[in-house]
Symmetry: C2
Subunit: 91 residues, 2 copies
């Protein structure tokens, strides 16, 4: 757990309003890479208790998260930044 | 591999046209059940080489498959029936 959680939409993600939500499509070279990323997301969900909508097939994963009450939820924001870090290989 | 593959849309699935596609939403009691089903679908994909679009969150999985040329592909049809059998606990 970071001491400070960014409440801003991660770079490269799409932010929608009404209702407020963040999403990003991640593209992979093959299914093995896709599945490795899904495994990382599973671990994130199991540690945070947050399960975003995930859409995937062989070579892509789309993460879609919606915020209740049009307010950024720190838990969801942390998930987004952690997912991005996992994709970037920075975690 | 079954000796005969049904080319008809499995019971409970939705069939769309233009383009031809089959889909079904499966609902589960909890994430553990959802994940167990996803694991079954992964095994199906790895054995068949077919990776449908999957959409899921904590307690549901939506399988969406589209056929090229508006013709039922036996490999995809077999995947659909196998997924349904896995859900029904009949496999």
């Amino acid at each position: 757990m970071e001491s400070e959680t960014s409440l801003t939409c991660p770079s490269g993600w799409e932010e929608r309003t009404k209702p407020l939500g963040w999403s990003r499509r991640f593209v992979f070279a093959d299914y093995e890479a896709t599945r490795a990323f899904l495994d990382r997301l599973t671990a994130l969900s199991e540690s945070s208790g947050y399960y975003p909508n995930l859409n995937f097939a062989r070579d892509y994963v789309v993460i879609t998260m919606q915020f209740d009450g049009d307010t950024v939820d720190p838990k969801l924001a942390q998930y987004a930044h952690a997912a991005q870090a996992a994709y970037d290989g920075k975690d």
